[in-house]
């Protein structure tokens, strides 16, 4: 059989690599240009902000990049801000994975059991209709003013997003993959982890990555409602005494937190979906 390979168009490794390399160098040239424009836009904006603050607009309304930067430095040097950041991080670090995993698990269960889906789908949709941040005060009542009420809000926001996206993935899954696998006597955990989860993994990652900012929103809303520490508490307190620079510092800390989490998720996603990335290269080519 092998003697006939040459009769076919084979996408041999070398030609693919050459094409990819060529695209790579073209991209990096283009990429450098894009980066330059981006830096110019951000730099220009910061400069304008710096100039406007004082002569044109009251600093206590908009602060200024230089003030924000020095507040950021002192905040972390004093250890105060570090403590707040740690508290918020802790709330997310517990609530987010638990929420994501339970959401994925329930979405998976709904996808597998028609009975379960038929019974609970309307209920879940109704619950989803509740503006979830409106429930935050209840969590304070139930779980107290400390860590666990915020974990609850983070969980709630993460859970529903992951549930809905996973369930969508389950419903879009190609039945033929399951049929083929089962024909090969594959069942149980191997069917779940070697067929179903990989098949819906693009959805899983979409769910996880979209819910990251929402997890942070959950923590902050919880802290806004009632708390004694955390970045949300820090922002609210600073705003209360018109320390506008510190409000921006809090916002920046949250932004960085979201970016780092998203980057980590992106790296994991790229590894897990490496079987897909090759397709993207071919699409660029076209």
């Amino acid at each position: 059989m092998s003697n006939n390979v040459s009769q076919e168009k084979t996408p041999g490794a070398p030609s693919v690599d050459v094409v990819t390399a060529r695209i790579g160098s073209a991209l990096s040239l283009r990429g450098m240009g894009i980066t330059a424009v981006r830096v110019a836009i951000i730099g220009g904006f910061l400069l304008l902000w710096q100039i406007a603050s004082g002569p044109w607009i009251e600093p206590f309304l908009i602060s200024s990049p230089s003030r924000i930067f020095s507040s950021l430095i002192t905040g972390f040097r004093d250890g105060d801000l570090l403590q707040h950041t740690w508290v918020t991080f802790e709330e997310i670090a517990i609530g987010f994975p638990v929420g994501a995993i339970s959401g994925i698990a329930l979405g998976y269960a709904f996808g597998r059991s028609r009975l379960l889906a038929e019974i609970f789908e309307p209920i879940i949709i109704a619950l989803n209709g509740i503006p979830r941040t409106a429930v935050a005060p209840l969590f304070i009542v139930w779980l107290g003013i400390g860590l666990w009420s915020k974990v609850g809000v983070v969980f709630l926001l993460t859970f529903f997003l992951n549930f809905f996206i996973t369930y969508t993935g389950m419903r879009q899954m190609d039945q033929e993959y399951i049929d083929l696998a089962r024909l090969m006597r594959v069942k149980g955990w191997k069917l779940t982890f070697k067929v179903i989860f990989p098949a819906i993994s693009p959805y899983l990652f979409t769910g996880i990555r979209t819910s990251i900012p929402f997890a942070v929103i959950g923590a902050i809303v919880g802290e806004f409602v009632a708390s004694t520490e955390g970045v949300g508490f820090f922002i609210r307190m600073s705003a209360g005494i018109f320390k506008t620079a510190d409000v921006f510092v809090g916002i920046i800390v949250l932004m960085i937190m979201v970016i780092i989490m998203d980057k980590i998720a992106a790296v994991i996603e790229k590894r897990a979906l490496r079987w897909q990335t090759q397709t993207e290269h071919i699409q660029i080519q076209a």
Partner: protein, 275 residues
């Protein structure tokens, strides 16, 4: 491993005359508009162990439905299908299935795909590796073990898809127009390779196609189906000698005769006026 498969198929031969017996089977689908669509009507078909049967018919005649019934993907509306003497209830894990599109698992490499059906309880690790290597070589995919399906050409995925079904050695392979979407040349190459593999393994194959030349070139027996609802119109034996030369199949003795008979049966299905 190969000897074992042959031995088991021989003992199956002694036990039953037929590996598959489709007995008066009908299949009615419910369409979304609540209408009933009769796909198959009173199909009766026997397949002997080691036989290469091709099923031809106009498109939409229920050829694929018949294969899916034998695989047990869904149940028939009437009649029954016996497999090695037992009625099929639920999924039939004794068949291998090669779908129309390759349907390799895109998240697994070529070697993981080919080895996917090798149950660790039946195959030790070295056995599995040997088996996977053997079939990857057989498919001419050596050197592509670590490739993902998205990186393969259409013909290569097709071959990988076929050996994935062969690798765990089910006694029967069902193939649903596996070479349909390929260009003519690749198609011939793959037909040739399929026959070579089959000459070594002699599994029972039920092969659905709409191509009459392909049907005759590959088969021991060609079964002709009618328009929807699909019925079995006739079946002809192809007595051409093996091994066959796919690339010059027209020159082979017996081809013209078999093709002529098949065409005579088939043309009425196409509504081309008979003279």
């Amino acid at each position: 491993m190969a000897d074992l498969a042959q031995a088991s198929s021989k003992s199956a031969q002694n036990q039953f005359d037929f590996v598959i017996r489709v007995d008066n089977v009908s299949k009615v689908f419910q369409t979304p508009s609540q209408a009933n669509l009769s796909a198959l009507e009173k199909i009766t078909l026997d397949v002997r162990p080691g036989e290469f049967v091709t099923v031809v018919g106009p498109s939409g005649c229920g050829k694929s439905t018949l294969l899916k019934l034998i695989a047990g993907f869904f149940a028939s509306s009437a009649g029954r299908i016996l497999f090695q003497g037992d009625e099929i209830r639920g999924l039939n894990t004794l068949v291998g299935y090669v779908p129309q599109e390759s349907k390799l698992f895109p998240w697994l490499t070529v070697e993981e795909n080919v080895g996917f059906g090798l149950d660790p309880k039946r195959y030790s690790r070295p056995d599995r590796e040997r088996q996977v290597n053997y079939f990857i070589n057989l498919a001419g995919l050596a050197g592509f073990e670590k490739y993902y399906p998205a990186q393969l050409s259409g013909g290569m995925s097709k071959r990988a898809s076929i050996v994935r079904a062969l690798a765990y050695e089910p006694p029967v392979i069902l193939m649903d127009e596996p070479f349909g979407p390929l260009d003519a040349q690749t198609r011939m190459v793959l037909q040739d390779e399929l026959l070579k593999i089959w000459d070594q393994k002699r599994q029972t194959i039920v092969f659905v196609t709409h191509d009459l030349v392909e049907a005759v070139a590959l088969a021991d027996r060609v079964v002709v189906m009618t328009h929807r609802p699909g019925k079995i119109k006739d079946s002809i034996n192809v007595t051409m000698a093996r091994p066959r030369n796919i690339f010059e199949i027209h020159r082979q003795e017996g081809f013209d005769e078999a093709y002529g008979r098949l065409w005579n049966i088939f043309r009425h299905e196409l509504n081309i006026g008979a003279h």
